[in-house]
């Protein structure tokens, strides 16, 4: 038997590969298969190629890397597989192999390094936000549309409308529970979330407090490593994970709350990520066990704060990292249903990714764009008053294609209801 094409550090395991029986049930919900109809860009095909690589029958460089790169990591295939194939684990094992062993073309390397030099750092993101605000003021986007290559054009089009004040605002370190305290929680404020969607964090704090939770938001927290983990940058992800654990484990809290689907899914995986590091395994497991998505936590608590009526048809978009990766589908819906007047509707083809997928829409702009447009059409089809989704990546992506539907994080809708204002109106702050 020939040697595996993977190196010896955590290659995709033979047992996990054997779980796939080649039945094809995962094909219809795979976004790349929907787009191209090609076997090697389906979950079944990707697993087949991993299998061949593990048997040493094909090289990592070339077509193999191309099709692993084209995967959005949306995990729709995990949901639709009746055999319980753990594609998430397979992909998580495969991507670092590609990063370590396959040399990337120079421009590709620079672009990827550029993203990772920027995103996980709040300070640098803020600097970019100033640049971004200036850039929008000067009406550069229209010019960029004409002159930039596709990848950079995609990155610039994703730049949200930045409000400098909120990009620089910092969150209170401690917010007291209203009434009898029910839980004490810590909040991960996220890097992209905190700079570009600061209002989601403030809404999260208010809602938690109104529901009887004391909220601690440590200032010394950094990036949780999710973007890096999902892109196969394992050393970076492990480093970030350890930092995050160290910051949060000091706090005497019942839960660690996160309002970014992508971050939540990787924080719940820390135990697995650090499984081979004896110093960290137990700490990581303990940390992961406390992590809750904000909607998950709210669904666990009997509603306490009064909800005011919001008469609106609300479309809920399942973020892949919430629905497929964490299996959280019912909780956000049940939380939204606590608001009287809300008419909650599902989207057609709800299980198909919107194309955002971490850094995907920056490194693979063409398919991401097609998927974004499809999702936008499906949103338009139900003509909602509001679109609600629990991931900033999805919000950034969908904003490009839907300028006539206001978009919110579920917790913002709940905040508006508790405060008794229209959801599109600015929140009341002390």
């Amino acid at each position: 038997m020939t040697d595996s094409s993977f190196d010896a550090t955590n290659p995709p395991s033979r047992e996990l590969l054997n779980d796939c029986v080649h039945c094809g049930f995962c094909l219809p919900t795979c976004p790349t298969y929907q787009l191209w109809g090609e076997e090697m860009d389906s979950p079944r095909g990707r697993i087949y190629l991993m299998d061949l690589a593990e048997r040493g029958e094909i090289e990592l460089e070339g077509a193999f890397t191309e099709h692993i790169d084209a995967c959005l990591g949306c995990m729709a295939c995990v949901t639709s597989c009746p055999s319980g194939v753990q594609y998430d684990r397979l992909l998580e094992a495969t991507r670092p192999q590609v990063e370590r062993n396959v040399p990337r073309a120079r421009s590709d390397r620079w672009f990827r390094n550029g993203i990772f030099a920027l995103f996980p750092y709040r300070r640098r993101l803020r600097a970019a936000a100033i640049g971004g605000a200036l850039y929008q003021k000067l009406r550069l986007p229209a010019l960029a549309e004409r002159v930039l290559p596709p990848r950079l054009r995609a990155a610039q089009a994703l730049m949200p409308q930045v409000r400098l004040r909120s990009a620089f605002a910092s969150l209170p370190r401690r917010v007291r529970a209203e009434g009898e305290p029910r839980r004490r929680v810590a909040l991960l404020s996220g890097c992209v979330q905190d700079v570009f969607f600061h209002e989601v964090n403030t809404a999260t704090q208010r809602v938690l407090a109104a529901e009887g939770c004391e909220v601690l938001t440590p200032r010394d927290q950094g990036c949780c490593g999710a973007l890096g983990l999902h892109a196969g940058r394992e050393p970076h992800a492990r480093e970030r994970a350890k930092q995050t654990i160290a910051t949060f484990e000091k706090l005497p809290v019942d839960n660690i709350v996160v309002n970014v689907a992508g971050c939540g899914s990787s924080m719940k995986e820390y135990g697995h990520l650090l499984a081979d590091d004896p110093e960290w395994t137990d700490r990581a497991e303990a940390f992961s066990a406390k992590v809750r998505d904000i909607t998950e936590l709210l669904a666990e608590l009997e509603p306490r704060a009064e909800r005011h009526r919001i008469d609106a048809k609300v479309a809920y978009h399942d973020a892949c990292h919430l629905g497929h990766a964490q299996g959280i589908r019912e909780q956000p819906r049940s939380v939204l249903r606590t608001v009287p007047g809300v008419d909650l509707v599902d989207l057609p083809d709800a299980e198909i990714c919107c194309g955002s997928a971490g850094i995907y829409n920056m490194v693979n702009p063409e398919p991401a764009e097609e998927l974004g447009e499809r999702k936008a059409r499906n949103v338009q089809a139900v003509s909602p008053d509001l679109l609600v989704t629990a991931n900033p990546g999805c919000l950034l992506q969908l904003r490009r294609y839907l300028d006539n539907v206001p978009m919110l994080h579920p917790v913002q809708l709940l905040d508006a209801s508790i405060q008794g204002r229209r959801p599109t109106e600015a929140p009341m702050t002390e």
Binding site: N18, V21, C23, G24, G37, E38, Y48, P82, S83, G84
Partner: protein
Amino acid sequence: MLDRAAHDALVAAVGSENVISDPVQLRSYECDGLTGFRQTPSLVVLPRSTEDVAQAVRACHRHWLPFVARGAGTGLSGGAMPVADGVVISLQRMREIVHIDPVDRRAVLQPGVTNLDITKAAAAHGLYYAPDPSSQQVCTIGGNVAENSGGAHCLKYGFTTNHVLSMTVVLPDGEVVTLGEDTDEQLGPDLRGVVIGSEGTLGIVCDITVRLLRVPETVRTLLAEFPSVTAAGDVVSDLVAAGIIPAAVEMMDNLAIQAAEKAVGAGYTLTTPAALVVELDGPASECEAQFDQVRTICERHGCTRLHIAETAAERAKIWKGRKAAFAAVGRISPDYIVQDGVVPRTRLAEVLSRIEDMGRDAGLRVANVFHAGDGNLHPLVLFDDDAGELERAEQLSTDIAELCVELGGSLSGEHGIGTDKACSMPRMFGEADLSTMDSVRAAFDLRRLCNPGKLLPTPRLCGEKPGRYRPHPLEEAGVIERL
């Protein structure tokens, strides 16, 4: 490898963006749902229209290249397995629902549309497409036509062939013809019927017109559990004897139940030896009256638990367990082979106990899921490839299919013969039958380029003396020949 001219002709036929020729990419097309048989194709083309298909087939015909149509690749008999030095024509870029006519209740579909998408699109008009293979969420209508696929509800509503009115077919020399009529009465010899179930050996099916049915007024579903497979089998016989034609009667044995529960948690009792899913549909009054009869019959045979679906969600859950059962067997075994055979309904209990004995002799476990109403069995042979059990499993699986023939049944209920069972065909058909089938094939495909080596046995595949095959007197006399 293809020679340059043939390669260029195919690229010219469909356009280079619809051709796959990278050796690594080609490997992902090596097999269908039956992974035991593999063959890397020389080229894959993904036509976008019937005209593209015709051009591609003409190129193959001109250059004497064998070709194989591929839908979703869920086939379980190796039908879509490529042939050596051949081309795969994938229909996965022809996935459009061309037209739905709610008044005349029919739909026109490109071949790559999935079975379930037809029903989803028809639902808006209160209609649905009746044949429902368990793989309906992924398998294509083109594949369904090729395999004459069926599903749980075929007991009452019939197989694919009962629902396809007409279709455009690209014949193996590239000619495009329409077979069948868009009316219920088919005039002349039924060539449509000849192509349906021919497993992609008589041409490539493109636009397909199917009949849609009105969603029944009421549907009642129950899950009944029994102390033995025999008891459950007796219930099926009694139902039929009482003149009840349920929309579906499905049986699962304990191993299958364990697998399904692991996958979807549909609420079956984990330890029960056998379970039946019985569904009745039709006008409310008729349904209710028959439903009571069904309950009485179940109780008479010692039913240990009877669960009646009260809501659509509960009904969906019961079905989810049944439909996931095949693929879910992956949860209790590293590898498995799905077998497909038919026995007369009265011999269900007998065949099951014989299968159990054979499994024990081979040292392998066999799970059973089946369309009990039709006597269509799906024994699933569980094995571990890495432990070197593949060969034993394949043998056991073949023996089970041949046992079905011995008991007066058939080699296949719905999954087809493909590569898998071609060599078992002589067990079921005499020389005269086989040579007639071969003549039909030759009439469509003189060059034998269209999915060669599938369905009918060839000496090359099956050894010099395949199965019990003895040369036909006419063959000995040199009047006919078989390739």
